[in-house]
Symmetry: C2
Subunit: 314 residues, 2 copies
């Protein structure tokens, strides 16, 4: 399953390299917002369907699921959610006679551990330039990008070596798992309930998020490890409306020259807020940003922003 | 002016960095094929209009030109061409009361010279790995990318140090300036005739190319320096249909993981032809490819290709 398509892209390319097949259920609203990501997955040989898919969208008959039928019975124009897409993918994997495995790209502990390779590299780079971040901003969909960057640094805070280090998880205002969770406790990772229960901050496994362009930040839950750190006060969380994050993306493109995706725009928005505050107070700070992914398939969002037509979406 | 938008993007970002304004006339067919490139230019503060623009497309009244009116009088559905876009841009620059300069991104000698920084770096990289290319493939729109890569190597061929080195300019079959030019001699760089006459292989300054996705390879002429080298037999030229070049792009994405633009897909198509020939004969060769630009704004072309709907367009 994939939201905005980053994880699906990674899976399809990986599958192409080792010669196995990859089927992807892509959250329906992102499927239409970001056709480029679908084309990329297809160019790597993936079969991609919108989740939930309705006729005549059902391109591959063997990818039709009971889950999709249930979602569509609730709402014939269902925009999809990662919860539903995970259920579809698990059902698809379960019912096949041939070996077919489901793969999750975030949330679970082993994914976060794997992603720390990025933070370990960043840690070494700071050593090389004899610096250390005062504050780290990362965007949080399921938590892997943010925690992968931050965990090698949070160790220093837990050890007492860097007690003042601040680590900020940046999420979408319309999907506030960390800043305004519906509850904190056990919930299923998918909507139907195929997954084990996971301890996390959750908006409820049946939460259907607004159609913001940051498709990667629409999940109802959050990585348990990050939730523990938030709950214990080691990490902070901030939420941003999509108008502010596209403004941050625009500022970044004007100064650094690259168009970044709406997801990392959330951490850039946090960094810009902090930098502006420092400019007022005269503080000097090393601000670390965990960027992830370009915005070339998100030009529709940028276009709406530049035309002044972007909705806040709460 | 810009075709597929690469040069326009470079100009807009450069202008943003130094705080000056940038107006771009983008060949009309590419303006609609590649909305991402337009959004990118706009995110850098550029004003972009399709060339030629018709009402209600005339977003900026002060960018309306007599040139566009002439083009539309010829054909109300004019797809545009770089020749017409250059004329529009020059007219726009000429008629302004404030300082406004026109900037060309390829063809002219100084641009080619500037681009050799890329080839000089490649040359040093071969020294570091103790290798030397047997054959160089580069795509040719106006010639700057190809020549920028190849000129530091062609020196060795001209000096007699590497007499067997082959350098192949790869162009679109539907815009064959080098493989089937209409004539070789003096022609204007634009359609209306604002530019000086340039000695080159040309399809005629009024040539309107087919609507292939490789918008950067649709120019009617070619860099004089490259034309001399082709004419003298130092460089070779090959032409490719757009079906073959998207197949090359697909192969590249499956093996290397990145989606490249239709323009450099032409040189990958040449390299793949050569690699397959070598595989048959058992030859071992070092094949150099002058890649340029990602394909994230070209997903429509890839989509048509993957669906089997791509037209050859001659």
């Amino acid at each position: 399953e994939t939201g905005a398509g980053q994880w699906g892209s990674g899976l399809c390319f990986g599958a192409a390299l080792v010669g196995i097949k990859c089927d992807v259920f892509m959250v329906r609203v992102s499927y239409y917002q970001k056709p480029g990501r679908r084309v990329m997955m297809e160019s790597w040989g993936g079969r991609v369907v919108p989740s939930p898919s309705v006729p005549p969208e059902r391109i591959y008959e063997d990818m039709v699921t009971e889950t999709a039928k249930k979602a569509l019975a609730e709402d014939p124009n269902h925009p999809g959610s990662l919860g539903w897409a995970i259920s579809e993918a698990i059902e698809h994997a379960l019912k096949k006679p041939y070996p077919l495995n489901y793969s999750l790209g975030s949330v679970l502990n082993h994914v976060l551990m794997h992603q720390t390779i990025v933070g370990l590299e960043a840690y070494k780079q700071y050593e090389l330039i004899d610096e250390y971040p005062d504050i780290i901003f990362g965007c949080t969909g399921g938590g892997s990008n943010h925690c992968g960057q931050a965990f090698p640094f949070i160790k220093d805070k837990l050890d007492g070596k860097k007690p003042d280090l601040r680590i900020v998880a940046c999420e979408a205002l319309s999907c506030p798992r960390l800043t305004r969770p519906k509850y904190i406790g056990y919930d299923t990772g998918d909507t139907i309930g195929y997954t084990p229960y996971i301890w996390m901050h959750s908006l409820g496994c049946d939460f259907v998020p607004a159609k913001i362009h940051a498709g990667g930040l629409r999940y109802h839950g959050m990585a348990p490890l990050l939730c523990v750190l938030i709950y214990s006060g080691y990490h902070e969380a901030q939420a941003f409306p999509q108008t502010e994050i596209f403004e941050a993306g625009r500022i970044l493109s004007m100064t650094e020259g690259f168009l970044t995706a709406p997801e990392p725009c959330h951490c850039w928005a946090g960094a810009i807020r902090e930098a502006r505050r420092c400019a007022e107070t005269g503080e000097e700070k090393v601000i670390h940003v965990a960027d992830s992914g370009h915005g070339w398939v998100d030009v529709r969002g940028y276009d709406e922003y530049l035309k002044g037509k972007l909705e806040v979406l709460l």
